[in-house]
Amino acid sequence: MALRPGTVLYHLREAGLSIIRNGWLALASTGVVTVALLIFGGSLLFVLNTHHVIGDIESKVEISVFLKSDVSPRDVEALGTRLQQRPEVAEVRFISKEEALQIVKQDLGDKADLLAGMEKDNPLPDTYRVRTHHADQVAALAAEVATWPGVEQVRYGQEVVERLLAVTRWARLVGAGAMFFLAGAAVFLIATTIRLSVYARRREISIMKMLGATNWFVRSPFLLEGVILGLTGGLVAVGLTMAGYFPLVSVLESALPFFRLVSERQVLLPVFGGLVLFGLILGTLGSFISVHRFLKV
């Protein structure tokens, strides 16, 4: 059947009338689509931002190699050379125990006198700060250096990174679970709405069949109704997410300048586009189920 403008208009009008007639149920199913997509969008943005932060941290990760206190100055120097000769190492910086104490004092500021007298018996170790070319070389290098003689302990941003990754894993799991559940509820509600539409118009449907309407002609208004419900839910969810996210970005930018949220358009646009598309899919799925179960044509 050719898609004439008149036919498309007819289907759209019928779908619109049905939505108005279904009123509250249409509102409820749109609402559930919205909530499901809000949760989806929220967790997506959360995961996106945590990964952004992790990338930030990893690029700044230095390995701190703390040396044993009984290592001779010559061995200290040898260790430094050995580190520098590694191909994955980009930069090696030596921080003597005296420098380390200065740094701690600076950090303490006006409470520096707490450390008075420490110069004589400095408990801090000599340290090498090592940077690698790539973040993924950090863990392997750190593990190897820890076995070298004269090395007391090796530390790097591992803990922070792993904690953040654990958080994103949870966020993903909870987000996916909640979304899965709500998406199911949304599909069910849309299917129910469409089922009521079919029921309300069963007389009209039987007349259409008698007059020789094709299956697609009979089904189209109902499919369209579901698509409109899902699409509306998706658009509302995107609107709410944008209304919440962008103020958050600017607030954080002024309050915590070093903690920057993702705000690039090319990253966010697919997220928002995906939400709308997902709403569309939920709506189509719901109406498809109902049309095939309750509209035997």
Partner: protein, 228 residues
Amino acid sequence: MLQLYNVTKIYPNSIPALLDVSLRIQRGEFVFLVGPSGAGKTTLTKLILREELPTRGQILFNGKSITRLRPSEVPYLRRRIGVIFQDFRLLPNKTAYENVAFALEVTGASRREIRRAVPAVLARVGLADRAHLFPAQLSGGEQQRVCVARAIVNNPLLLIADEPTGNLDPENSWQLMRLFEEINRGGTTILMATHAWDIVDQMKKRVVALSHGRIVRDEQEGAYGYGA
């Protein structure tokens, strides 16, 4: 144009609705289908419209097997058959004009075609001045004529009427019959299932009588007969 070969229809857990029915209707014929309630008249119309499939037997419409149609072909069969019911089956929220236009809309006709065809067919059934009234504002006879307009607006080969005068007074019934005769003169084949013996007796058309699912009589210029 319409041929039935040894058609049997048995609904589950029931006695046969049609038993070994063979019937041949030529193009342009006017056929009354008579018989008591439960004789199988409605089942026969359902089989022709492919609302039901026969349990056994073969039905040809315009040279094509109805029983072997793919589901996607059924709508195109129905567009070539106009149907009229005792209870009208008009959409109450559409005007007479819109109800007739609906038959064209579902076939994907253009607005121009609709604007051309609908007034013409409404004039043909004598409702040109009632086009914009709703079914509730029309008399029974007028409503049935809207149904006739809706049934013939697609220029069907066959017009099936299932007790079309069942809800009409004698005057309106006769008016409808004159309309049917005129449509029949235009070349449309008419198959009318009815209880109205007076109409059948006076029209002197072919009469096919069904009883207990079998054809018991088939005569040209027949009467309702047997005081049934």
